[in-house]
């Protein structure tokens, strides 16, 4: 059960209060009626599904009700930062980034623990 910092409530809360809302910073095309089938498919279906640093949206649905953005490492599930909706993509502070890389290396992934000889 994740612990998530809500940038509106300014507090860490249990994942139970939140709902994941997909990849962040995918703007709905302003001229959506005019885009091509390919562009629509990309907008609506294609996602980065990053292994590592990902930007995503959450909604504090059983809390303040706000949607917000988060940067999370999908290998360690560590949150690097969260910030309010509407803000542009926030860079991950360098220290956090290094910590995340270190952590990603430090966590026992299944490849490491269950892999064969390396």
């Amino acid at each position: 059960m994740l612990l998530i910092h809500c940038p509106y409530c300014e507090e860490d809360r249990s994942e139970l209060e939140f709902r994941w809302a997909g990849e962040a910073h995918i703007a709905r095309p302003e001229n959506i009626a005019a885009i091509s089938d390919e562009e629509f498919a990309e907008f609506f279906f294609l996602r980065n599904n990053e292994k590592g640093l990902t930007y995503e949206r959450w909604r504090h649905i059983h809390g303040c009700g706000r949607f917000f953005n988060a940067a999370r490492d999908t290998v360690s599930d560590r949150f690097l930062l969260t910030y309010k909706a509407g803000l542009p993509k926030q860079p991950v502070p360098v220290a956090e980034k290094f910590a995340a890389i270190a952590e990603e290396k430090s966590v026992e992934t299944w490849e490491q623990t269950e892999g064969d000889a390396r």
Binding site: M1, S14, A33, D37, F40, G65, D77, E108, E114
Partner: protein, 991 residues
């Protein structure tokens, strides 16, 4: 040795910490025994000389008690308080005896002593690891029909409970600064150190009392006093501090993400007569800032031929039984070890009057100190020797000893044998937290290396053996200042992993690595020979470590044997992952309060009780209970529904529509927002009017629908489907907050603010008229699709003139607490006028007769507004709305899409099955080409025939065409028609 009391002839007078006068009676396989309070089932049985406890999984070999803790693989029992409170697979070494306990052995038939299944042991040469992958394949059906049932019956251990569990379980969330797992010397010291900082501390231990290894280790002195006494005093001190919670009989079973841990507390399983209010177990869900892991270590057994006989036991277990429970495990005990700890067990036993047949040590050079002490006590030590075999059918009666590398063997008579191959740090929780282990080559063990969460390991689980060092480490981890001294009698040396001498050669020798699953050293070698080179493959092929003890004893041995066989060092072979739970956790505990009425909220409308009183049958719609139909005395469902349908069309009916979702959309940009969220246009809707709206997602498929009323320029009352309410609100919030944040509009769920009483039918107006104030109900003043704020029975109400039946219809919205009162009055009047109450079934039929769709029944997430025949609801003028682009994709505009149409069966009495599939040619071979399916189908009492709605490929171009619905027993011919079956002109609705 004295048989001092009836609590067992193996009790040692003066030994142990239980009070002789406090006894408890229990039965084992029908025979009655007396135990002392504080005994585990294991210690109580051993006190009576009972060593044969169970049978193994595969070979049904006789098994005894190997350990004194939760790592026990053999002594698994069925423990019951009464018929409904029966628990299989209970560890005898953990379960405390309570007065009246009924205990039985498992996995044997007809009895523990004479078990038919033991025949498997004789056939064991055939049952090598993975043998079942290589046979049982012929003929094809035989696996499922013959072999598998036999294997299943032989496998499994305990018998599942067959009655509903009458006990209850509790759950609690808990927050703290530091959680300390394990209350041995390290955990207690860390707790003391952390407690003085004022932080909120939770100290957890799985045993009934704190102390950990001090339970058996009687020679350790801490702070100048006996270690165990120090532990109890320290716990008392901690308990008295307001910032400390001490939980005993509580296991930290899982260490999850972000400082979240699962604990299970066993509250009543040790109590003879538990209070009714006490839960059997309590689940603690803890969120902590820091974890101190003080989980200790687990002693390993020695791997050698026939190392599994009852009476063979870990050295530390023998010490626990003696020093804590006051029970000797035998009269003449042998010792086989590769580690000094077993010597201390021998010393304790010897001093208690038990004779020690010999200490057999694989090492040439055991620790000097223990060797000297053995000499002093006159114990025979055979260094550089191995135990290569044992004998004894239901209990060991001799061990066969050989000098290393020598074929000369001699038998030594024993009635018990204690073993130790050294200690494995308990890194389970550390590993669950996703920390990374490193291999300590010198001591052949894995210890914590890199932490993934804010945790620290102290003591034996961290590979810290020296007591002074351990205390320093624990104080440091706690973060406080503390002066504490500790003294051990002996510093231990030694240890080995893998098979000892006598575990091979492979033919016919069973040297067990994993007791419960009967995995032997040769099984592991076989796996490697067969190409299983990854430890995970070896585990899965042999099932080593997959039994209910999850490899607490077997993993390191298995790994070492594989490593030797592969010729690769242990860290290169890898380690299987430690998974939660640390020890098995009762489902009931994980479920806790979520059972029965609290399993899932049953949402009821304000009128529910009144409907119940009228005899309503209810159906589940999402979380809601909705009145389904109102049978009168003697009516079955069909009769009741036919009556309701007819009455509504002829007179009127009263219906509870409260569950419909309602969203208050308020703000200057409200219309603009709805324009973007619905396919329809809303700026043209005048206050006081309603419109039916369709909502699509970006993909263009129907997502929800409902009537929207405009109450004012800046205020809309939006309704949604019952099941769709939460997701529609979330969907709207998503767009409002993240795509259209510039719009000044807010959304509030008002579903439950309003009780909604629908009155439909020719007499609807007449029925409601006397209750309504402040609104002229005439057709001119309040035509179909109107909304007004007015007063009903003196309370502010929202009145809608809407119809989901095709008749004149009103929906009275009153504040929910008034719902019952208004309903009662309206129904009283309606009943007097010959109207009826009707439920969702009648509602479904009446709307189908009019061709109104139900989203989720007639549509399924693949249907566009046009497919549903609602193309008119998609604005052609708007330049944007959610779904505008998705609707134009090639597949959504192609010819031949499935469209909603009406179906009339050729035989008017025939009612189609909802879900029936439609074909052109019913005689075509399978697989048939299907055109679509029946989405709604009913008997229409009003029409005196059946009607149906269906999704049919190219449906609207097939009007009049005959199609077929092939059923299992017949084929039903149908004609494609329009979807409106009643009052096509729509005159009634405006009546």
């Amino acid at each position: 040795m004295s048989a001092s009391s009836n609590s067992g002839s193996f009790r040692i007078k003066g030994a142990g910490r239980h009070t002789p006068a406090r006894t408890a009676r229990f039965t084992f396989d029908g025979k009655s025994y007396t135990a002392l309070e504080g005994d585990t089932v294991a210690s109580a049985l051993l006190a009576h000389g009972v060593h044969l406890i169970g049978r193994s999984f595969k070979y049904h070999r006789p098994r005894g008690i190997l350990t004194a803790g939760p790592e026990e693989p053999n002594a698994l029992l069925d423990v019951s308080r009464d018929a409904a409170r029966r628990q299989p697979n209970v560890r005898a070494t953990v379960q405390e005896v309570f007065d009246g306990a009924k205990i039985a052995s498992q996995n044997r038939w007809p009895s523990l002593k004479y078990d038919i299944g033991a025949f498997n042991d004789a056939l064991s040469p055939f049952f090598a690891a993975g043998f079942y992958y290589k046979t049982f394949m012929w003929p094809r059906e035989a696996w499922h029909k013959i072999y598998e049932p036999i294997i299943r019956r032989a496998a499994g251990l305990g018998v599942a409970p067959t009655e509903d569990d009458p006990d209850h379980y509790a759950s609690r969330y808990l927050h703290c600064d530091v959680l300390i797992a394990g209350a041995g010397v390290a955990g207690l010291t860390a707790a003391l150190s952390a407690a003085v900082t004022g932080k909120k501390i939770v100290l957890v231990d799985e045993q009934p009392e704190v102390g950990g290894a001090l339970h058996y280790d009687a020679s350790t002195v801490i702070d100048g006093q006996n270690g165990y006494d120090w532990a109890q005093a320290t716990a008392a001190k901690l308990r008295a501090m307001p910032n400390v919670t001490v939980l005993t009989r509580t296991t930290v079973f899982g260490y999850y993400n972000h400082g979240f841990l699962g604990l299970v507390e066993r509250v009543t399983d040790h109590v003879a007569k538990p209070s009714k209010d006490a839960p059997r177990e309590r689940l603690w869900q803890v969120r902590t800032k820091k974890v101190i892991l003080a989980t200790g270590s687990i002693e390993r057994h020695m791997v050698f031929a026939n190392n599994d006989r009852p009476g063979i036991m870990l050295a530390s277990a023998a010490r626990s039984f003696l020093n804590h429970h006051g029970v000797a495990i035998g009269h003449n005990v042998g010792v086989y070890t590769a580690h000094d700890s077993a010597y201390e067990a021998a010393f304790d036993l010897k001093r208690a009057g038990v004779s020690i047949a010999a200490i057999v040590d694989t090492r040439d050079k055991p620790g000097e100190a223990v060797l000297a002490e053995a000499r002093t006590l006159g114990i025979d030590v055979l260094t550089g020797h191995a135990v290569v075999d044992t004998s004894g059918r239901h209990r060991i009666n001799s061990m066969t000893v050989a000098r290393s590398g020598n074929f000369d063997r001699r038998k030594i008579k024993v009635d018990a044998l204690i073993v130790s191959a050294g200690w494995t740090p308990s890194v389970h929780l550390f590993s669950q937290s996703r920390g990374k282990l490193k291999f300590d080559e010198a001591n052949q063990r894995f210890v914590p290396d890199v932490y993934a969460q804010n945790a620290v390991s102290v003591g034996a689980c961290n590979g810290t053996d020296d007591l002074a060092e351990l205390i320093d480490e624990a104080i440091m981890a706690g973060g406080g200042r503390l002066a504490l001294s500790g003294e051990n009698r002996f510093d231990w040396t030694g240890g080995m992993v893998g098979a000892g001498e006598g575990a091979g050669p492979d033919h016919a020798v069973k040297a067990f690595v994993d007791f419960q699953h009967d995995v032997t050293a040769k099984d592991i070698r076989l796996a490697v020979r067969e190409g299983m080179h990854s430890i995970e493959h070896i585990k899965r092929f042999t099932t080593n470590g997959m039994a209910s003890d999850q490899g607490k004893l077997s993993n390191m041995h298995g790994l070492a044997i594989a490593s030797e066989m592969l010729g690769r060092p242990i860290p290169q072979v890898g380690l299987t992952t430690f998974r939660a739970p640390y020890t098995p956790v009762t489902y009931g505990t994980l479920v806790a309060h979520s059972r029965g009425d609290l399993f899932d909220p049953a949402r009821k409308t304000p009128m529910h009780a009144l409907e119940e009183a009228e005899g309503a049958a209810f159906e589940d719609v999402g979380n809601w209970k909705r009145a389904w139909y109102f049978p009168r005395r003697g009516e079955d469902m069909a009769t009741a529904v036919n009556r309701e349908c007819k009455t509504v069309r002829d007179v009127a009916g009263v219906f509870d529509a409260s569950t419909l979702g309602k969203i208050e959309v308020v703000g200057p940009d409200a219309a603009q927002f709805l324009n973007l969220l619905y396919t329809n246009a809303w700026d043209t809707l005048k206050p006081g009017k309603c419109r039916y709206g369709i909502m699509t997602r970006e993909d263009g498929f129907i997502y929800d629908d409902g009537v929207v009323g405009r109450l004012a320029e800046d205020r809309f009352h939006v309704t949604t489907t019952t099941g769709g309410a939460p997701r529609v609100l979330n969907h709207m919030e998503d767009y409002l907050q993240t795509e259209f944040p510039h719009l000044k509009v807010w959304l509030t769920s008002t579903t439950e603010q309003w009780a909604v009483i629908a009155v439909q039918g020719p007499k609807a107006r007449e029925i409601i008229e006397p209750f309504v104030e402040g609104q002229d109900l005439s057709n001119e003043a309040f035509p179909h699709m109107s909304v007004a704020e007015c007063t009903v029975m003196g309370v502010p109400a929202r009145l809608f003139r809407v119809s989901f039946t095709g008749e004149v219809g009103y929906e009275i919205n009153v504040p929910a607490d008034f719902g019952a009162s208004v309903w009662k009055a309206v129904w009283e009047r309606a009943e007097g006028m010959g109207a009826c109450l009707y439920g969702t079934e009648t509602m479904h039929i009446l709307r189908a007769e009019k061709g109104y769709i139900i989203v989720g029944q007639d549509t399924d997430g693949t249907v566009t507004p046009d497919d549903a025949g609602y193309g008119w609801a998609v604005s052609k003028k708007k330049t944007d709305f959610v779904g505008i682009r998705g609707l134009k994709r090639p597949d959504l505009v192609r010819e031949g899409r499935k469209q909603l149409v009406g179906l009339l069966t050729k035989d008017p009495k025939e009612v189609l099955e909802e879900g029936g599939q439609i074909v052109v040619d019913p005689n075509q071979p399978k697989p048939m080409t299907m055109l679509g399916h029946v989405t709604s189908s009913y008997w229409s009492e009003h029409l005196g025939r059946s009607i149906a709605i269906a999704l049919v490929a190219g449906g609207r171009s097939r009007m009049g065409e005959t199609l077929h619905v092939p059923m299992a027993d017949k084929t039903i011919a149908v004609e494609v028609t329009d979807m409106v079956f009643v009052d096509k002109e729509g005159g009634r609705i405006n009546g």
